[in-house]
């Protein structure tokens, strides 16, 4: 009896989709399944901020190529959450109590919002923009709200603030230098950023911290250590992203922040690979593991994962350095780029 692989891919982002595309290109017989807990087709996460501001239609948010799955016979399971993995029996358990057997597993589960430990008690008051569902939950509120308090920073946060200023919303930003993970925000950079954002109409607070957030009817009162007190409609936290790997914990996979993989994207468990922003990749130059956030990285990692799964040895290389402008500061990075409609599958 012929033996066909069943590649199960957890994640419907750029890493997962590009893995699937290369696998199908090179293995016409295998069964390929993509699982995502979000109930939406493949979309441009980087465009979420523009979408939330009403600057994009849903169609523009979507990555073109929907017929891809049917044509390529890739089973897409949307709105289905992975609860745990049993590598011994090669089973993925879904939240709705279905078991899926794999021969090769790819974890491309991306990352979610990082909530600072000091802010956990206010978790109910904080909003994030990391998934489409979250965006749908607040999209209308954002349109009608007048005042926003944002703390942290990070690159997504800046995109969002810019958008809000364009919408003539009243924005207060409390900069947390450590939100700029994974690069350091120097005093000089901060100065330029503050100047730039103020010019766009935002109030920027530095060297301060939140002391309390109180929910009052439909609004929030934010108090800071230095005595600033503001009543706002919505409070957003932008403090970087953290790999979404809860479901993978305790099954024998080596996990630090993210799932540890070698340069060929393999984990410590046979037949399990990880890629995209959930993975922490070994870098022999520094003898340590680093996470590579960013669309372009996810695409490249997905492709390399697929090649290695297919038996073609490929070592991951960083994507090219790019420069981009962060409120007047030129930042050189390999992990972030302006997303154009370039990443069709």
């Amino acid at each position: 009896m012929p033996h066909y692989d069943h590649y199960v891919i957890i994640g419907n982002g750029p890493a997962g989709n590009h893995t699937a595309a290369i696998l199908r290109e090179n293995d016409g017989d295998a069964k390929i399944t993509i699982i995502s807990d979000e109930n939406i087709f493949f979309y441009y996460k980087p465009k979420l901020t523009e979408y939330i501001a009403g600057g994009l239609t849903k169609a523009e948010l979507m990555v073109p190529g929907l017929s891809f799955y049917r044509e390529k016979k890739i089973r897409l399971r949307l709105g289905q959450k992975v609860d745990k993995i049993d590598p011994e029996r090669k089973i993925v358990f879904l939240n709705h109590m279905e078991k899926i057997y794999y021969t090769k597993l790819v974890i491309a589960s991306g990352s979610g919002a990082r909530v600072l430990p000091s802010m956990r008690s206010y978790a109910d008051c904080l909003k994030h923009i990391t998934t489409y569902n979250q965006v749908m939950e607040y999209k209308e509120q954002i349109q009608t709200a007048g005042e926003f308090f944002i703390f942290g920073g990070d690159l997504v946060g800046f995109k969002f603030i810019k958008m809000l200023c364009k919408m003539h919303k009243q924005v207060t930003l409390l900069i947390y230098p450590n939100a700029f993970w994974p690069f350091n925000l120097t005093e000089k950079m901060q100065e330029i950023i503050v100047k730039n954002l103020s010019r766009q109409g935002a109030d920027v607070l530095v060297n301060d911290d939140i002391s309390q957030i109180i929910k009052k009817e439909d609004t929030y009162i934010v108090k800071t250590v230095k005595g600033v007190e503001q009543q706002v409609d919505l409070v957003f936290s932008f403090n970087g992203l953290i790999p979404s790997v809860e479901f993978a914990k305790g099954c024998g996979l080596d996990i630090d922040h993210g799932i540890l993989v070698n340069e060929t994207m393999q984990t410590n468990v046979p037949d399990i690979y990880a890629c995209g922003s959930c993975a922490q990749i070994y870098n022999p130059k520094i003898n340590s593991y680093t996470t590579s956030i960013g669309w372009a990285n996810a695409v490249v990692q997905g492709k390399v994962t697929a090649m290695n799964l297919l038996g073609t040895h490929r070592v991951i290389e960083s994507v090219d350095y790019k420069y981009f402008d962060l409120e007047g500061v030129e930042i050189k990075t390999t992990w972030w780029e302006d997303i154009e409609e370039s990443s069709f599958i």
Partner: protein, 586 residues
């Protein structure tokens, strides 16, 4: 007020309460003032296995057809619901059990097969039912609770509907059902983040007239009793059995007699015997039984004895597909049998007209002393509607026998040729009204007469009656023409007529100039009206639920031009969506 037009399906295994959940939902919606049309499909087996689907369309407007695609699928059974997903609209809603007792194997969960884009709500049906009543029997009520909460329906009134449904049961059963419902309702309110846009919030239907929630079979019984039925003989067969079952209780209460015979041949024999005796009589059957009755149908026509046969069509031929709907007995009913055998055939076009057809059938059979076949089908027999309470027939319809006058009894000619073909009929026992009655060709006295002239004369007489029947039958339903000529005319019959009418309305919204024609009477057929209609249509479409286009073939002979056909034998009722699609292609 916003319009509501929703199709909800509950899919489970036989014995899981699928059908009763559908019934409660329909009754509740009707009580709220909505139009409903519901249709259940179930296996031939009695209990324990097999897929059941309770399909309900509810609308704030008039409903013509059950709706092909489903807005909301409630899965009580993952295995069965997987195949039912194909009926779910793109972006439709799936409610499923998120915490079954045992994990599903790979590809055994309905959620696993939901098309991307489906709105899915997981509700722990089994867990909540157990919590409510200590067993999982109330999963159907938990699911209803979830739906009521999801779509912002009135939970309190719904609870009352459940209580009413189980009013005759023990209190513990009522409590178990209500508690299960409330568990589903409260859990959903608390845990489900709604992402669809269906809401009954603020939708208040005006209080209307009292409605009767009823299916075609029940309505046939009601009509028969109202129309003075006094004798029923039959042999059980799906989908007509229910008619006999209800009559077995109701007919004796109304001074009538029900006889369960050994087969359908005996049943029609007994009906003709009763008819001969001057008693209003009928039988109900389906294709295989109707085939057995053929010889006796000839006797009814030849001996001019009233007889009414309800034939609820199912998938055929032979035993065929007993629990699926079809319109494939047209030929058998209108043209079947031997000899030149004119008979009256009526085919109700919706649930309400099952009542009209039955009253009319009993009346015409008696008046014209002939065979009347009433063609229902599985869908009409079983689909439930909420209708206005039918007005009881007037006295004219209750006793239509044309009895001989004293003078006519002097030298009584039972088969006298009259201008309208109807010979005064003496009921046995009428003084002076003795006559021969036989299946042989006969003269006006009833005595056997094999002469060519005699045969021609009597055949002509039996056919002549027909032209008068048409005058008493309801006129065909023809939608208004917007101009001199329409682009497409849709000619339909029986249960497909509703879908055809709806398709025409949708087509008009689409800019297609379409019109519809349907006639409840199929034999004799209102040919002039059809020809006049067809003359004003550039193209003709005939949708029907049979393979060979039986009615289309019949219509072609009348209008003498080719027609487009739409034939389905899927076992499902005709869908307006399919007719519309066909019109778009024409």
């Amino acid at each position: 007020m916003k319009d509501i037009d929703l199709v909800i399906e509950i899919c489970g295994s036989a014995g899981e309460g699928t059908i009763s959940a559908g019934e409660i939902l329909s009754r509740f919606m009707s009580g709220q003032g909505f139009e409903i049309m519901s249709f259940d499909s179930y296996p031939a087996e009695i209990r324990g296995f097999g897929k059941c689907v309770a399909h309900t369309r509810l609308s704030s407007n008039c409903i013509y057809s059950p709706g092909k695609l489903v807005d909301v699928l409630i899965s009580l059974n993952d295995g069965h619901s997987i195949s039912q997903l194909s009926t779910l609209k793109k972006g439709g809603i799936l409610v499923y059990d998120s915490a079954p007792l045992k994990p599903h194997g790979e590809d055994k969960s309905v959620l696993g097969w939901a098309e991307p884009g489906t709105v899915t709500y997981g509700v722990p049906l089994t867990m909540l039912a157990n919590r409510a009543a200590g067993n999982s029997r109330g999963r159907n009520m938990v699911a209803l609770g979830a739906v009521v909460a999801l779509f912002h329906m009135d939970g309190q009134s719904f609870t009352q509907s459940i209580q009413a449904r189980y009013a005759k049961k023990k209190q513990v059963i009522i409590d178990a059902n209500v508690n299960s419902f409330l568990e589903g309702f409260n859990w959903t309110k608390k845990h489900i983040e709604k992402t669809d846009s269906i809401s009954f919030d603020g939708v208040i239907m005006p209080a209307g007239r009292e409605k009767l929630i009823i299916n075609g079979n029940q309505l046939v019984v009601r009509a028969a009793l109202d129309a003075n039925l006094k004798f029923y003989a039959g042999y059980p067969i799906t989908p007509a059995t229910k008619i006999m079952e209800i009559l077995s209780k109701e007919l004796p209460k109304n001074g009538g007699t029900l006889l369960q015979t050994e087969d359908e041949i005996a049943a029609i024999g007994a009906v003709i015997g009763a008819g001969f005796g001057g008693v209003r009589a009928m039988t109900a059957t389906s294709g295989p039984g109707f085939a057995l009755m053929t010889e006796f149908t000839g006797l009814s026509v030849m001996a001019e004895v009233p007889a009414v046969i309800i034939n609820s069509q199912r998938g055929g031929p032979s035993t065929g597909i007993p629990t699926k709907t079809e319109q494939s007995d047209f030929n058998a009913a209108v043209l079947g049998g031997t000899g030149d055998c004119p008979r009256i055939v009526l085919a109700p076009i919706d649930t309400f007209s099952c009542y009209q057809a039955t009253v009319l059938g009993l009346y015409l059979a008696e008046k014209y002393q002939t065979l009347v076949v009433i063609l229902l089908d599985f869908f009409l027999s079983n689909s439930i509607r909420n209708i206005d309470i039918p007005v009881k027939p007037s006295q004219v319809f209750l006793d239509s026998n044309i009895a001989p006058t004293k003078a006519e009894l002097e030298n009584y000619q039972r088969y006298k040729v009259t201008p309208n073909g109807i010979s005064p009929r003496a009921i046995p026992g009428t003084p002076g009204g003795i006559f021969f009655s036989t299946g042989l060709e006969h003269d006006e006295f009833g005595k056997p007469d094999y002469s060519d002239k005699g045969h021609l004369k009597m055949t002509q007489k039996r056919f002549d009656k027909h032209s008068f029947v048409l005058e008493e039958a309801p006129a065909p339903q023809i939608s208004d023409f917007t101009g001199d000529m329409a682009d497409i005319g849709v000619i339909s019959w029986g249960s497909s007529a509703g879908a055809a009418q709806e398709a025409v309305m949708l087509a008009r919204k689409d800019g297609i100039d379409a019109v519809s024609f349907s006639s409840m009477i199929l034999s004799p057929f209102p040919e002039k009206a059809l020809v006049a209609f067809a003359d004003k249509c550039k193209k003709i479409l005939v949708p029907e639920l049979n393979y060979s286009g039986q009615f289309a073939n019949f219509a072609v002979h009348i209008i003498k031009r080719p027609v487009e056909r739409l034939n389905y034998i899927t076992g499902r009722p005709m869908a307006s969506e399919d007719i519309l699609e066909k019109m778009r292609q024409m």
